[in-house]
């Protein structure tokens, strides 16, 4: 059995270098002004893709024959929060999805409510930022339909997804997973709140009872264990202000590349 570095160790810069001697390159890597220049590249990537993705082009959909025999579970696979433990005890019977923030009528949806809405099933490829891919079949309600029910207030620009898992255990909740997308992706037909995977109910390892699928971006955008969707005009005051758990730890907000 090979030794796996934990995902955390891989995704978050390891602390080893902090105690060691930095090479010239590493000193440059840590310089804020260098990073400010490099981030221009991220801005350019997003602008270029958005320019070319002006329409609502779909991510490729595959056939059942193309599906991964085993879909790798990653990130949190068993949330440790009390909230989530209680949900498991009742088999998610009391789970509700709260949708609020800059909306006309905040609403709370039960799983039955969501399943009663029109659904979409898509076989798509999940691309992890680490480099691997898996193909699975997702069933859920298009996010756009949920947003239509609550109605967006003027000025709303982003949908923020608050999750039940604390990827980094913390007392103040700063380790809770969250993500955000803008309205271009929120209204995209393949952006769904998924409750079914590969023909069955979504498993805990994959984000039960509900996860986001935002198919034209990398895996970390596909927030699992959804509890609340908040419409905002800016995510400056959420978490560390970068728009997501991994974004707060250095990853790009726009994960189309």
């Amino acid at each position: 059995m090979s030794i796996d570095l934990t995902r955390r160790r891989f995704l978050i810069g390891s602390g080893v270098a902090a105690t060691g001697i930095l090479t010239g390159c590493d000193a440059m890597v840590r310089s804020p002004s260098v990073n400010a220049v490099l981030e221009k590249g991220e801005w350019l990537s997003m602008k270029a893709q958005r320019l070319l993705l002006g329409g609502q082009q779909l991510a490729r959909e595959y056939t059942e024959a193309d599906m991964s025999p085993v879909f790798k579970a990653n990130g949190t696979q068993m949330p440790e929060t009390d909230v989530y433990k209680r949900l498991i005890d009742t088999n998610f019977a009391d789970w509700r999805l709260e949708v609020g923030g800059m909306v006309k009528t905040p609403k709370s949806f039960s799983m039955a409510d969501l399943k009663a809405m029109p659904s979409r099933t898509q076989i798509t490829r999940h691309d992890c930022v680490e480099g691997w891919s898996a193909i699975g079949k997702w069933t859920g309600v298009p996010l756009g339909l949920v947003l239509e029910q609550v109605g967006l207030a003027p000025g709303a620009r982003y949908a923020v997804f608050h999750c039940a898992d604390d990827y980094e255990q913390s007392l103040d909740g700063s380790g809770l997973y969250y993500e955000s997308i803008d309205l271009v992706d929120a209204w995209h037909p393949q952006t769904i709140l998924s409750y079914g995977m590969n023909g069955k109910d979504l498993e805990i390892a994959h984000g039960a009872p509900l996860r986001l699928r935002v198919e034209r971006q990398l895996g970390y955008k596909h927030a699992k264990y959804l509890m609340r969707i908040e419409l905002v005009d800016s995510f400056k005051n959420i978490g560390s202000g970068k728009g997501g758990f991994w974004e707060d730890r250095g990853y790009e907000w726009y994960a189309g590349i």
């Binding site: 390159c25 490829r125 250095g250």
Partner: protein, 294 residues
């Protein structure tokens, strides 16, 4: 053919002539390319380290039973660990370089060693930021070069091999000459030889564009824009594999390129790529236009 042996000029010494070989555009884009490719390679290896397996097809994760045909991993070895590189059915112990190498004096599981990655420590987010920044830089630089090469007729004049140069007989002769480390001299050295032309065309028009296309094929956003790229390369994981193999071929080219620069007159070569002027020895004859005699 050197001047010393040509009959007409026996009495006179061969003259050193500097001629203008590399235009300013070629020199600038060449060195920017060196910069970009260095950063792209090292940040690329950082990204590879986050998932040190390669697959073929649309999908591939380290979940069984997805078959990886290349893996660079660390395995427990008593109290310590060993680095193991697996290519298909073959396993190699590569402790110290691949799979497990020292960081701050301690053996650590990592596919490529810290001296080959940016940053030296494990940090995928930073590796990606550097990679994509220099990818843009590289693409813009390459675009300027391509535009210049076409407009100035640099490609047609200097890089396109002639039919005569591509005959098996001529190529066999050049390969034999190169193998003996005998390089064109005098007037012949004014032009690239056919092996040079083929190498430069192969890298500039095949390998480097392939890097860009396979890189873009790994982008889920780009897949929605140009889904046909997935079909061209046989899937995202195939594209990732081709990206890796092509990068290896470019590294191989650079190694040969640098060796050739070193053994075929390092100062002359360096001067020509910095100032533009390359020296050749020719029979004394009236210098043609654009030349500086010394």
């Amino acid at each position: 053919m050197t001047s010393g042996t040509s009959g007409t000029a026996l009495n006179e010494k061969p003259k050193k002539v500097l001629f203008y070989r590399h235009s300013l555009a070629v020199r600038i884009t060449h060195w920017l390319n060196v910069l970009c490719l260095s950063f792209l390679l090292m940040s690329g290896l950082q990204i590879f380290n986050a998932h040190p397996h390669l697959y073929w097809g649309q999908y591939g994760a380290d979940a069984l039973p997805d078959p990886a045909f290349l893996s660079i991993e660390a395995y427990a070895d008593g109290d310590s660990m060993k680095g193991v590189t697996t290519i298909g059915p073959f396993q190699f112990t590569t402790t110290g370089v691949l799979g497990a190498s020292k960081m701050d004096g301690e053996l650590t599981p990592r596919a490529f060693p810290s001296w080959l990655t940016i940053p030296s420590y494990q940090d995928l987010a930073t590796g990606r930021r550097w990679h994509f920044f220099f990818a843009w830089f590289f693409v813009i630089n390459g675009f300027v070069y391509m535009l210049y090469g076409m407009v100035s007729r640099h490609f047609r004049r200097d890089l396109l091999p002639t039919r005569a140069e591509l005959t098996p007989k001529h190529l066999a002769h050049e390969i034999a000459e190169h193998a003996r480390l005998r390089f064109p001299k005098g007037e012949e050295a004014r032009r690239y030889n056919s092996l040079q032309k083929l190498a430069y065309v192969g890298v500039g028009f095949i390998l480097l564009p392939l890097m860009i296309l396979t890189g873009l094929t790994m982008s889920p956003g780009f897949n929605a824009i140009f889904p046909w790229l997935l079909d061209v390369f046989g899937g995202r994981q195939s594209a990732r594999t081709i990206h890796f193999i092509t990068a290896s071929l470019i590294v191989a080219f650079v190694v040969v390129h640098v060796i050739m620069v070193l053994i075929s007159g390092v100062w002359n070569n360096l001067r020509s790529m910095i100032t533009g002027y390359y020296a050749i020895k020719v029979d004394p004859a009236p210098a043609s236009k654009g030349e500086v005699s010394k």
